[in-house]
Structure formats: C-alpha cells, structure tokens
C-alpha cells in the first residue's frame, strides 16, 4: 500500500480515463469558443474599392442572415447583425440600375478572432471571395486619425482606486 509507485501503476486505467476526460474538456472548451463567440457583422452597402477595382453600391437590396428577418438597404446604408459561430448563410435580393432583380444565397465565414467585421454587399454581389468582401472593422475615428475618446477622455476614464479594491460593503449584492 505504501510501496513506491511504479511506472506501470502510474499508467493504469484511471490515468487514461483522466487523460480522456481532460482532453474532452479541452475539446469542449475549444468548441464552446467557436460556438459561443459572438461576431458583429456590419453589412455595408456603399461603393468600395478592392484591389483597384471599384464596386458600386447597390441601388436596393434586401438582406437576411441565417434565414432571419430581412431588412432593406439603399446606398450608403450600414446595418449590423450579431451572429454566433463562424459559418453563416446570407440571402441577398438586389436590383441593379435597371430594376432587374437578382437573388444570391451564399455562405461566408467570419474570421475566428474578429469580433467586429464589415461585410461589403457590392463586393459580395460581384462574386468575390469572402476573404475579400469581409474586412476588419476599423472605427471611423481611427481611420481618420482623430483621437476620439482618447487623450483627455481616456485620462478621465475611471482608473480603479483604493476604495474600489477593498470594497465598500454598502454595494448591492
């Protein structure tokens, strides 16, 4: 009972079961990350230039993501859709300048680690790859190099104080 543990004792059934359980939990964690991660997709209908080619904004479009409620887009519209998981289907009904209606249904994949992306409708309709019509979301201020909310505003942002750290008991609970 109090003998030394041999290597054989160590690699017994229990060891393998534990290993399996730990692996299972890690797999579950990875799965949950994929499954539960929420992405905000900004569906954007404006003229865009990709690789030197210009794609003109759609005159009118009706878009629904994953079979949800459809919403209408006119040029320069941007609406957001929040989705979980990476793979999604998008259903687009649009009209060109001649009022010809087209219908497209396609799948797109949101990059795993992006929480906010911009999906360009004109590029999608033009049949580009999803890695091209989906781009990282960069806030306008940052794009323009304006420091909104930074600088003085950031300095004023609550930095935790002593009181916060050791708590006042009067807070609700």
């Amino acid at each position: 009972m109090n003998g030394k543990k041999t290597i054989k004792d160590f690699f017994n059934l229990s060891f393998y079961v534990r290993l399996a359980v730990i692996l299972l939990v890690i797999i579950l964690a990875v799965f949950l990350y994929h499954y539960g991660k929420q992405h905000t997709v900004y569906i954007d209908n404006r003229t865009i230039e990709i690789d030197g080619v210009s794609y003109k904004a759609l005159e009118w479009a009706e878009v629904s993501v994953d079979g949800g409620d459809a919403s209408e887009y006119s040029p320069r519209t941007r609406r957001e859709a929040t989705v979980q998981r990476q793979k999604h289907t998008i259903h687009v009904v649009y009209e060109d300048e001649d009022f010809n209606q087209f219908e497209i249904e396609t799948e797109f994949t949101v990059p795993l680690n992006e929480t906010q992306v911009v999906l360009s409708l004109p590029a999608l309709v033009a049949g580009l790859d999803d890695s091209q019509y989906i781009t990282q979301f960069i806030p306008m201020a940052q794009q323009l190099g304006i420091n909104v909310g930074g600088g003085a505003a950031a300095a004023a942002e609550e930095i935790p104080t002593e009181e916060d750290m050791f708590g006042d008991m009067t807070a609700d609970f």
């Binding site: 109090n2 059934l13 229990s14 079961v17 534990r18 359980v21």
Partner: protein, 523 residues
C-alpha cells in the same frame, strides 16, 4: 504464534527481557510506573519513538522468524493490534464507523476512475455487517449505531477493541490498562471478552494494575521492575500479595532510614469532601481527605489514577467540584486567586508551562507571585498611590533562596530557561516559599531531575516543613520518595483515596493499595 522473545541490552530502560507467548495465551504484564512496560510494548509495536532514540537490541521472533517493524503499520500487518490507554475514537461517528475507520467497504463506481478511489461511496450495509461481526467475535453487547460521544466509557473501550479485532489478520492483541477506566461490571464483561478471544486463538498481552484481574483471566504473569523481568509466574499458582511484593520490590531491609514518628497535631488545616476534577488523564472522582496542621502528607498512586488531579483541581487549574475548607473557611473551587489569597501555594508538575516565566530573571521569577498576590517587595509612595518595586529586597530574598536551595546559577539575574531541570524545580520551590504559605502543594517535585538534585529538593521541603511548621502536601509517583519525607501517605486509586497509612508501613501494603484492593480483601 510460536514465540516472541526479546533481548534488550545497553539501555537502562529495559535490560535483557525474554519471554514467550503461545497462540491463544493470555499474558499478564504488571509492574510499577517506569518499570518498562510501555517501552517494551512500543518496541513490539514498532513505534517511531524507539527508532528515533536509537532502536533496540535483541530480537523479536514471530512464528520462529525474526521480524523488525519499521512502523506501527508493519506491526499491524503482522497481526499485532494495540489498544492504548487513551481512546482514539471519533466522538461524532457511530461505533460501526469507528470500528472500520479508514477500512470502510466501498461501492465501486465509474466516477472513481476520474476522481480517484476516494470518490467511491461507502457501502453502509456491509460496513454494518462487518462491525457486527467484530462485535460478536468479541462477545459483548454493543449497539453499532450508537454515537461514541453518547457511549459510556466501557462501550468506548469495546469499540476500540472491536476495531483491532475487525482487522482480519489479527493474532496478538495488546491491551494497555483497559480496565482502568471501567466500572466493575464493564470490567467483568471485558474480561469475559478476553477469554473469548483467547478461545479463538488470539493471543493477548494484558497490562493492568488490578492484580485480581490477572488472576481471573491470565495464563501467565510477568512482573517487571526497573526494566527487568523480575519473575514469570503461573497465574493459577500465584496470589495478589506475591505479585504486589514483586512489583514494588526493593526489599524493605535495604533502606536504612531513620524512622521518626512525629505526633501529628489534632487540628485539621484542610478538609476535602467529595472532590471531583476533570483533568484529562488524571480524573479525580470522589476524594475525601483531611490534612492535619503542620504535617507532611504524601499522595501516591499509579499514573492516571488521579493523584495529580487533586492539587490541580483545588487550585482551580481544571474544572472541579466538591467542597474544600481551609481552617474552617470554605474555599471557592476554580478560583486560583482565592486559593492563593488564603495562603495556599502550589508547585506545579508542569514547571515549564505553569511554573516559570522562562524568559525572565530568577529574581523576577521568585518575587513575582509574592509581589502580585501579597504586595510584598513594594515600596509605597504618596500614601500607597504609587507602588515601586523594592529591588533591594527582591535581590536579597533571591540570594537567600539561591543559597538555601543551592541553586546553580551565574547570578540572580540569569534567565530561568538557562537553568537545568533540577535547578528550575528549585526556583519553583523558592517561588512558593517566597509566598510564605501556610499550606503548600507540591506536585511531582522530582520528576525529570537527577538523583543529587532530587535529594536536595526533598531535603529542602522536609526542612521547610519541620522548621517552619508549614503544612505540605506532596504528590509523587515515587513511593520511596514519599516514604522518605512524609508523615502519612495517602494512596489514590481510580480517582479516590484507597487508604492512608503512616510512612513507616512496609511498601507491600502500599503496593496492594495502589492496585485497588483494600487490606481486608487481599487477606
């Protein structure tokens, strides 16, 4: 079991001990405190203490093969079980749970593969069954569902023994004074149980101070004294008196002491009635005792019988009850201050814990209680509003006692912890003397100090008693010591006084008192 023999050389505690034990035999082991019984059993049981103090000599043979136990666990595996004097039971568990503690039968489940063996649930039914098996084997009536905390002492003892015999390999059971805490009825049941066990082929080593019990159940008796086996007797052919004599030993003729018979004063300084004290390991149950003025009274008895509890209880160091009067005045029990105020003093057996301020100087140690309690060594200024220590008086008093008691120290400013045990004991005495009490309790004054210091301490006490007429009550486990300086000696057995005899009485008679027989019964 064919033979257990043991030789032990070179250590003064045990010398050349040999004995054999047959299967199913009941061996009685008797001897005074310090005779080496516990050491012998510790060796047999492979206790850590033995190894840490340098192992032992000689050999132990089981079934003709030599064994050396590295730990109690090894001894357990070899089939040796021991029931100690103190219970090792969990109060909140039932008898059954205690019997199978850490050996509970389990239901296997898948969960244990992940969380380890201990995630198995306990199989209550089998547990119950196994416990009942053990109890039946012992042959006593014991409710397996009873909580230990609600049990009478005897049942606790049975639980403990059941636990040992529930181990499947058990072959030898060591019982260390199992009947000390039992009532007569319970003891009878236990003795019957021992006979049961022996009939089933389990050998028993039975340590006890009650010699009658040895006669009742044992096949063989070993009497030990001073680390030797004095005699091996056939239980059927011996008598209590023979055993008692062998146990106490020291032929009376050997000590040539001047016998001074003093006339005791008739006035009683202290009278104790129905005293009980809850001191762990030294429970006092019902003590009635009168102390005469100016006498030197000894309180003797075997360890664990309650003699140390008496002064500790009166001085309020442990919960106690009953009535104690000093010079006709009632003393409230449990109030140390009141005791000290009424001119009693106590030299504790626990000199490091209770007796001394180890980090303080000698003079501070000696003078502190007197200053605290009796406002001695204080100079008063402003009509008593400001009290100042009288350093001069303290120093002179300390010097006086250092000289008187021959305390070996560099100066009176030395710290108490730097002194040897014997000298610390002397400081304790000096401290009590400085209080100038009318009645002084001294508990085990010679415990753990060498022979020379012993004589000095005893001499000092005797002198103090004879010359100043202070009444002294001394508690000691060493009968010889008591006989040297006391006028009368009271023997405590099982929490009560079993008899008071003049110090000149032969030691056999004390021996018989110690093992709990009154004189009449023994004859």
């Amino acid at each position: 079991m064919q033979s257990v023999s043991k030789e032990y050389n070179g250590n003064p505690v045990l010398k050349d001990v040999n004995f054999t034990l047959k299967e199913g035999e009941v061996l009685g082991l008797v001897g005074e405190n310090g005779a080496g019984k516990s050491t012998l059993m510790n060796i047999l049981f492979g206790m850590d203490v033995i190894r840490q103090t340098g192992g032992y000599g000689g050999r132990i043979l089981i079934d003709g093969k030599e064994v050396k136990f590295a730990s109690p666990l090894d001894a357990l595996k070899a089939g040796i079980g021991m029931v100690h004097q103190e219970f090792s039971l969990l109060p909140g568990f039932t008898a059954a749970e205690n019997i199978l503690l850490n050996r509970e039968p389990e239901n296997k489940s898948v969960i244990s593969l992940v969380f380890g063996q201990r995630a198995n649930t306990i199989d209550r039914k089998t547990l119950q069954k196994k416990a009942i098996d053990a109890i039946t084997k012992l042959g006593v009536s014991l409710d397996p569902d009873m909580l230990v905390s609600e049990m009478p002492v005897g049942h606790k003892q049975f639980t403990e023994i059941s636990r040992e015999i529930s181990k499947s390999s058990i072959r030898l059971l060591v019982l260390d004074e199992p009947t000390a805490v039992l009532s007569e009825k319970e003891a009878e049941m236990l003795l019957k149980a021992i006979k049961n066990l022996s009939a089933q082929g389990i050998s028993v080593i039975f340590i006890t101070h009650r010699l009658q019990e040895i006669l009742d159940v044992c096949n063989k008796v070993i009497v030990m004294r001073d680390g030797r086996i004095i005699n091996e007797l056939d239980a059927a052919k011996t008598s209590i008196q023979e055993m008692a004599k062998l146990m106490v030993g020291r032929e009376v003729a050997s000590s040539s002491r001047e016998k001074e018979e003093r006339k005791l004063s008739d006035s009683i300084i202290m009278s104790i009635r129905n005293l009980w004290v809850d001191m762990p390991g030294e429970t006092v149950k019902n003590v009635n005792l009168d102390v005469h003025k100016g006498e030197f009274l000894g309180i003797g008895g075997l360890a664990g019988q309650g003699k140390i509890g008496i002064p500790n209880g009166i001085m309020g160091l442990f919960p106690s009850g009953g009535s104690v009067t000093l010079n006709g005045k009632n003393i409230p029990l449990g109030d140390t201050r009141a005791c000290l105020d009424s001119s009693m003093a106590f030299v504790s057996e626990d000199r490091r814990g209770v007796g001394l301020l180890l980090d303080e100087s000698l003079e501070w140690n000696i003078a502190f209680p007197a200053m605290q309690i009796q406002n001695k060594f204080l100079k008063k200024y402003l009509g008593g509003l400001v009290k100042w220590r009288d350093q001069g008086a303290i120093e002179s008093v300390t010097k006086k006692y250092i000289q008187q008691l021959q305390i070996k120290c560099t100066s009176s400013k030395q710290k108490a912890k730097e002194l040897s045990g014997g000298n610390q004991q002397k400081i304790c005495l000096a401290k009590a003397f400085a209080l100038e009490p009318k009645l002084l309790f001294v508990s085990e004054p010679t415990r753990g100090i060498d022979v020379g210091a012993k004589a000095l301490v005893l001499q000092a006490l005797k002198q103090y008693n004879r010359e100043l007429g202070v009444t002294i009550v001394m508690v000691s486990s060493e009968l010889e010591e008591l006989r040297q300086c006391c006028d009368r000696i009271a023997i405590v057995t099982d929490g009560a006084i079993s008899g008071i005899l003049p110090a000149s009485t032969p030691s056999e008679e004390f021996g018989i008192l110690m093992v709990g027989k009154s004189m009449k019964e023994a004859k």
